[in-house]
């Protein structure tokens, strides 16, 4: 217990002293996860809306696929992206393996199904509520997508936050495709894994504190959005 207490005290000192390496790791983690969430939102929000409003052959299978994607094992995603980007792989020439871009790709694949599945649910619920009114106005579901996306804005923002939470806490995929290279692809989660295995608990705990703060902030933001939505939407 004494050892853990000591490690915690050192961790706090590291944070207070604004340790440059520590902050570089935090910055890279946020950059990778935010970029991946942004890309996942750009793909997942329209995809979710389309799955909610459009009827086309294969829609059911696509919905099933997206929903199944919620449980994608990160290490498997990491492995697949590794195979794609490795020198012998189809995208090997791009030289992206062990770069932050590879990490963004892996996280985007993990987060897109989360955003798409939650967006589909949100838009479908709204469409159920609005359907007769929109039909009465002569607005068919596809043309109503912008209206539905805007009106589902709080739930969609929450979907993006859930995606960001998953990305920020994820370790398996980015460890495989990023390689946890110091000053290059080391993020909070991969550094925690490494430092813990080395027995360097101070650094691991300091990063752990930051990670918990990030996750708490995400949850607070989601709760805030939900309260705001209840107030505004009645």
């Amino acid at each position: 217990m004494g050892e853990i207490g000591e490690a915690a005290a050192t961790a706090l000192r590291l944070l207070r002293s604004a340790d440059p390496e520590l902050f570089a790791i935090v910055a890279l983690s946020l950059e990778v996860s935010l970029t991946a969430t942004g890309l996942a939102a750009a793909i997942g929000l329209p995809l979710g809306a389309l799955l909610a409003v459009a009827r086309f052959p294969g829609r059911g299978a696509l919905v099933l696929l997206v929903d199944a994607g919620l449980g994608l094992p990160p290490v498997v995603v990491g492995l697949l992206v590794y195979l794609l980007l490795s020198r012998a792989g189809p995208l090997g020439e791009l030289g992206l393996l062990f770069t932050p871009t590879a990490m963004v790709i892996a996280q985007t694949i993990l987060v897109t199904p989360i955003v798409a599945a939650l967006a589909r649910r949100a838009v479908a619920d709204l469409l159920e509520d609005y359907h007769e009114h929109l039909t009465s106005l002569g607005l068919r579901p596809l043309a109503a997508v912008p209206v539905l996306l805007f009106d589902a804005r709080y739930r969609l923002a929450t979907a993006c936050l859930a995606g960001f939470g998953r990305a920020a806490a994820e370790v398996g995929a980015i460890l495989i495709v990023g390689g946890n290279i110091r000053d290059h692809t080391r993020t909070m989660t991969t550094a925690i894994a490494l430092e813990t295995s080395k027995g360097a608990l101070e650094q691991a705990l300091a990063l752990g504190f930051v990670l918990i703060l990030v996750v708490l902030a995400v949850n607070l933001a989601a709760a805030g959005l939900s309260t705001m939505a209840r107030r505004i939407e009645g």
């Binding site: 709204l126 509520d129 609005y130 007769e132 009114h133 929109l134 039909t135 009465s136 106005l137 002569g138 607005l139 068919r140 579901p141 596809l142 043309a143 109503a144 209206v147 805007f150 009106d151 589902a152 939505a229 107030r231 505004i232 939407e233 009645g234």
Partner: protein, 249 residues
């Protein structure tokens, strides 16, 4: 613009009269509307009267094109279905309001019907005034009281300048004061030349507003005709019982 009613931006011709013949809607082996035949005439307030479950709301939805009939003919004066839609509006029993401000909600409806941008501001102001919601323009539409929400839904329907307005039990969940305000708007719209077709199970409301009555019972049109005659001399046993306040099953 995908999917909008772009086929017929021109003003619709007169929608009415509408001749309905042998209208049938079935579900689960039951006839919910059973061989209805009647004529809707322009610039009248027609009240579809009857107990709960008679098929009033369903009939309104069929007339507005929200539910397809299983059998029967609807012969409109305007043959083009898209143009017909442009000449109609519908107010639901539980108003469907968007998750945005009063003005935002009205703006979506006007944009959906391709009302030119330069006209929208004036129409919104007029609708807000008609609903008596001045000062509430930026308020979230769904945070308004039940009566205010229904007035907004009515005003939104008016903003679309319909020839024919369907109202599905618009005051079913409102108190007398809110009901009075909604009825005042309905009268106002009727005075502006809008043909009103509304459903209600409220006898008092039917007496106050109806010029024509369609009395439905068990999915059948039991009586149809002039409201004065219907209330003074109901011809059927069911209508007499309903008018005498008996609880019809």
């Amino acid at each position: 613009m995908i999917g909008r009613l772009t086929a017929a931006r021109a003003e619709p011709g007169p929608l009415l009269p509408l001749e309905v013949e042998g209208l049938v809607v079935e579900a689960g082996g039951r006839r919910l509307l059973d061989g209805l035949s009647f004529t809707l005439r322009p610039q009248r307030c027609t009240v579809i009267l009857g107990p709960n479950g008679a098929g009033k709301s369903l009939l309104l939805r069929v007339l507005h094109g929200l539910v397809p009939p299983d059998r029967g003919v609807l012969r409109w004066a305007e043959p083009d279905p898209d143009r017909r839609r442009l000449g109609q509006a519908f107010v639901f029993q539980k108003p469907v309001l968007l998750r945005r401000s009063v003005c935002g909600d009205l703006a979506v409806a006007l944009a959906a019907r391709d009302v030119p941008r330069r006209e929208r501001r004036a129409r919104i102001a007029e609708a807000v005034a008609l609903a008596g919601l001045e000062g509430f323009e930026r308020r979230a539409a769904r945070s308004l009281s039940g009566g205010e929400q229904q007035r907004l839904a009515l005003a939104r329907a008016w903003a679309l300048r319909p020839q024919l307005l369907f109202l599905d039990e618009p005051t079913a969940s409102l108190d007398p004061a809110a009901t009075r305000m909604v009825e005042a708007i309905v009268r106002d719209l009727a005075a502006r030349g809008v043909t009103i077709v509304m459903s209600t199970h409220d006898l008092g409301q039917a007496r106050r507003l109806a010029e024509e009555v369609l009395f439905l019972y068990g999915g059948r049109l039991v009586e149809a005709g002039d409201a004065g005659t219907f209330f003074a001399h109901p011809a059927s046993v069911a209508a007499r019982a309903f008018l005498e306040g008996e609880l019809l099953a």
